[in-house]
């Protein structure tokens, strides 16, 4: 574990700078309530893979907490960002007092980021806004990030009962210089309990079609090209909605362990979990949107499909899928 804790670091601020030669964190600082833990680097496919756990004291954020994380990945550095359990957003005394998490991540050409955290878990009467800003410096900058949110404490019957939840993912091309940056992708989710026409007509549960978890996976760059193509192909191969199902004898006898066999398992399990997903190839990215009745179902599906394709594990190690366990 390497960490300095300079007293000058403002509350919630974290700074991370990963360099390639030598492959190490040149900077790794953080301040309460943010905590960053970096276990030893691993080597996969001849690359040094660093891992960072994003933690908060108490496993979540209370009203007024503000996290501001800055990460720079130099060319040919590789980072896995993880959490330890879902990020809980605690009840706020006033809907106007938010918990905020801001991440600014610069990825240089040839560098790679895998950010597969646990879903955010906003409790009833919480207010939360987060933004993930990615600045890509070149066509070979690699990105695999998942942003997902669940309905709250499902075990206590909470179903999307927070005041506000906002999550913004923006990806900018800065290869022509900061002043000529170009927006490549913007995914901005706005769920507000009270505000707007929709609030008087529809609960948040309705806006997510009564699913218990909703997520977005974004893939980009040569390291995730195969995975992106895999998602698109699996989406294509999914049975059509409303197609007659022939049960019984017609089930093809695929070899155990074959891709067809794995796909059938995923479909069957997904059906039981109320899993719905869609994938699209947009502006050089593969965007996957998914929802399921419960977090477990979504985790299982995501882990299964990433595992069946296999390139995340072979390039970044098994640890990169830790949050999907």
């Amino acid at each position: 574990m390497t960490a300095s804790f300079p007293p000058s670091t403002p509350a919630g601020r974290g700074t991370v700078h990963l360099t390639s030669s030598p492959s190490q964190f040149r900077a790794l600082t953080y301040a309460y309530p943010l905590k960053l833990i970096s276990p030893d680097a691993e080597v996969h496919a001849n690359r040094s893979i660093h891992t960072l756990f994003l933690l908060t004291y108490g496993g979540g954020l209370v009203a007024g907490d503000a996290i501001d994380l800055n990460i720079t990945l130099d060319a040919k550095t590789f980072l896995v960002l993880l959490t330890q359990g879902s990020t809980k957003i605690f009840k706020t005394p006033d809907p106007q007092i938010l918990s905020i998490q801001k991440a600014t991540i610069s990825i240089n050409d040839g560098a790679g980021l895998v950010y597969l955290p646990d879903p955010v878990q906003p409790f009833a009467e919480s207010s939360f806004e987060q933004s993930q800003m990615y600045y890509l410096n070149g066509p070979q900058a690699n990105l695999c990030v998942c942003d997902w949110v669940c309905c709250g404490r499902a075990a206590r019957g909470e179903m999307w009962e927070f005041w506000r939840y906002g999550s913004r993912n923006e990806i900018w091309d800065v290869s022509q210089g900061e002043d000529k940056k170009r927006l490549l992708l913007r995914d901005n989710l706005i769920l507000d309990h009270k505000r707007g026409v929709i609030a008087s007509a529809s609960s948040i549960a309705r806006r997510v079609d009564d699913h218990g978890v909703f997520g977005t996976l974004i893939l980009r760059g040569p390291m995730f090209e195969g995975l992106g193509a895999f998602f698109l192909e699996e989406f294509e191969k999914m049975p059509r909605i409303g197609e007659k199902k022939w049960d019984g004898e017609d089930v093809p006898k695929d070899k155990v362990g074959s891709l067809e066999d794995k796909r059938r398992h995923r479909l069957k399990r997904g059906e039981g979990d109320g899993l719905l997903w869609t994938a699209a190839n947009i502006r050089g990215f593969v965007m996957v949107k998914f929802a399921a009745r419960e977090v477990e179902g979504a985790k299982h599906w995501l882990k299964a499909i990433l595992h069946d394709e296999g390139s995340i594990e072979s390039q970044f190690g098994e640890r990169s899928l830790l949050c999907l366990k």
Binding site: G166, R168, R182, L183, L184, L185, R186, D187, N188, L189, I190, L191, D192, R195, G196, V197, I198, S200, A201, S202, R206, R207, V208, D209, H211, F214, T216, F235, M238, R240, I241, G242, E243, L276, W277, T278, A279, A280, N281, I282, R283, M287, K289, A291
Partner: protein, 301 residues
């Protein structure tokens, strides 16, 4: 005598055009507020037969005969944008919510609210920004493209946007009363690019704002017709999908709920910057995205 009348008539036409121009310049120089629609004191009316008329505007609205004429053109379902081919996720929504025919009108009402809210939150800031600053059209087109993360939705937006650009070039350009340089430049740049590395897509929302502005339609009417046109297209799709009968469809469009909904959405998104546009109904992305997976389809979205 005749010449005097003719010259007076000509002068009136010229002065009216000048007045329109001045109004546009004025409305652009004081964006983005105030919103002419006064906030409703009541919530959405529940009974459309006794629904109150929409709240009077705080500033007196003037619909001149020439702007009425333009509004009728833009609001006409005969405007050749091909909007009838798109259900904006309705067809997929129905496939995901199998229900007996008797429950379908209620299910449709739920969809229409979600769909309009989603359209307003993702697109209205772009319509308004392009109306207020047509010179930003290329940038707005790029940013809208970057924010439309679904192949099916993208195809629908681009198909109608390109159709609108075509209608503007072939039919409406001559009737523009406002400065159209921005649109001309945009159209030229769009036509000039080769298909390999095309960066201009011609999405509907920003083009709707820019074309309406060029035709002298004010911001509020531009935004209102944009949302109303969406409602009309979705309701029409519902008729063709046998969810609503033709009279039910007209009742839906005439209802106080729809008026109050559109006015409320206008107020809500009037001051919102395009960077803060976003998805308020995430399920729409799933329904629209999964439209491609329907076994049978009668619409393109």
């Amino acid at each position: 005598m005749t010449t005097t009348i003719q010259s007076l008539e000509a002068e009136i036409v010229a002065l009216e055009a000048q007045l329109q121009n001045a109004k546009i310049l004025l409305s652009r120089s004081q964006p983005p507020s105030p919103l002419p629609i006064a906030p409703s004191t009541t919530t959405v009316p529940t009974n459309n037969t006794t629904s109150p008329s929409p709240q009077p505007s705080s500033t007196k609205q003037t619909i001149t005969p020439s702007s009425l004429h333009t509004l009728l053109l833009l609001a006409d379902s005969a405007l050749p944008l091909g909007s009838f081919a798109f259900s904006s996720g309705l067809e997929s929504f129905l496939a995901h919510h199998r229900t007996p025919p008797a429950h379908q009108p209620a299910l449709f009402a739920r969809f229409l609210t979600l769909s309009l809210s989603s359209l307003a939150s993702t697109s209205l800031p772009y319509v308004l920004a392009a109306h207020r600053q047509p010179g930003r059209l290329t940038e707005l087109d790029n940013d809208f493209d970057a924010s439309t993360l679904c192949t099916v939705a993208r195809r629908a937006s681009v198909a109608q946007g390109r159709a609108l650009l075509g209608v503007w070039e072939r039919s409406l350009k001559g009737s523009c009363i406002s400065d159209v340089d921005a649109l001309k430049l945009f159209a030229r740049a769009y036509r000039a690019q080769n298909s390999q590395d095309a960066q201009i897509n011609a999405h509907l929302a920003p083009l709707w704002g820019a074309v309406s502005c060029a035709l002298g339609v004010d911001e509020e009417q531009t935004a209102y017709v944009f949302l109303f046109g969406h409602a009309r297209a979705v309701v029409s799709a519902a008729v063709r999908a046998s969810v609503l009968g033709p009279y039910q469809a007209q009742a839906e469009l005439a209802s106080g709920e729809l008026r109050a909904g559109i006015e409320g959405l206008l107020r809500e998104w009037w001051d919102v910057e395009t960077r803060d546009a976003g998805q308020t109904v995430p399920a729409v992305d799933l329904w629209v995205g999964r439209h491609e997976k329907l076994y049978s389809r009668i619409f393109n979205s």
